[in-house]
């Protein structure tokens, strides 16, 4: 890793991890409770929020999701460090 990551990187990343975690919990719940429309509503709320957070994160810190539009067309940032186990 060239330079240490900003505290901001960790803060935004953790926010995404929290929201994605709620999504995962709701998915498993809905897999066995497919008719709980309140949970589907909550799922949709978090899914939209996650999308928003990830777009912000990628604009600031570089690619997070595979196959998404890149902010930089001069340098291929996807294959650059840091990888998840390095941060």
């Amino acid at each position: 890793m060239a330079q240490p990551l900003s505290p901001d990187y960790y803060k935004q990343l953790e926010e995404i991890q929290a929201v994605d975690f709620v999504i995962f919990e709701l998915v498993l719940y809905l897999d066995t409770h497919p008719n709980d429309s309140q949970a589907i509503e909550q799922y949709n709320h978090y899914a939209a929020h996650s999308l928003k957070l990830k777009i912000e994160f990628e604009a600031k810190h570089g690619p997070l999701r595979f196959g998404m539009p890149m902010r930089n067309d001069q340098r291929w940032e996807w294959s650059e460090a840091p990888w998840p186990w390095q941060v």
């Binding site: 991890q17 595979f66 196959g67 998840p84």
Partner: protein, 189 residues
């Protein structure tokens, strides 16, 4: 297919360079009740199970791969920059002569992963009960590792993973109820 996000499911930290703990964690990497076994078990069983629970097996199987990446991260951080001498003192000399500090699908005793750790009976009840047992065994394994570990940051990540096994077991128990329901009987709730 699967896709990748450059993030861990949970922020993993370890407090010290401690290859001994890395050795214990290999039980959850390439062991009988580890995360690799879990992922492979569920994602393989899903082709021959009633449609109602295919989604659950797919989603839990996918989560297990995210757990595997967390375990790998813990092992990587606990052994990164450790000298051959430190690895030897941790009981990892045998690992070192074969793999240097590369990760490998061994259990804590160095036994390589084998497909015989997992089952696919094709009988939905037998398979789901196997899955419930696997979750309880993984939960117990996390407990025994926490009992042996004095690393508070590592234990924080291990507690997250242990809690996930409780939720997975719950969902598999619900899956048994779902496929046991008699369609001719009215649902109670």
């Amino acid at each position: 297919m699967w896709t990748y996000e450059k993030k861990l499911m949970y922020p993993v930290r370890v407090s010290t360079c401690n290859p001994t703990l890395a050795k214990y964690l290999m039980e959850q990497y390439g062991g009988a009740d580890g995360e690799l076994a879990a992922a492979l078990r569920y994602l393989n069983q899903r082709y021959t199970i009633p449609e109602k629970v295919i989604g659950l097996l797919t989603d839990i199987g996918t989560e297990e791969f995210a757990h595997l990446e967390m375990i790998a991260t813990m092992i990587y951080k606990l052994t990164k920059d450790a000298t051959p001498q430190q690895l030897k003192e941790a009981g990892l000399a045998e690992h070192y002569v074969s793999h240097d500090s590369a990760l490998f699908y061994n259990n804590a005793a160095g036994v390589p992963f084998t497909a015989s750790y997992i089952q696919a009976k094709g009988d939905p009840i037998a398979d789901l009960y196997e899955d419930i047992a696997a979750e309880e065994k993984a939960r117990a394994t996390y407990q025994w590792i926490i009992d042996q570990s004095d690393d508070p940051d590592l234990n924080d990540g291990l507690r997250f993973l242990r809690e996930r096994e409780i939720v997975h077991s719950q969902r598999f128990r619900e899956a048994v109820v779902m496929i046991s329901e008699d369609k001719n009987q009215k649902k109670i709730f």
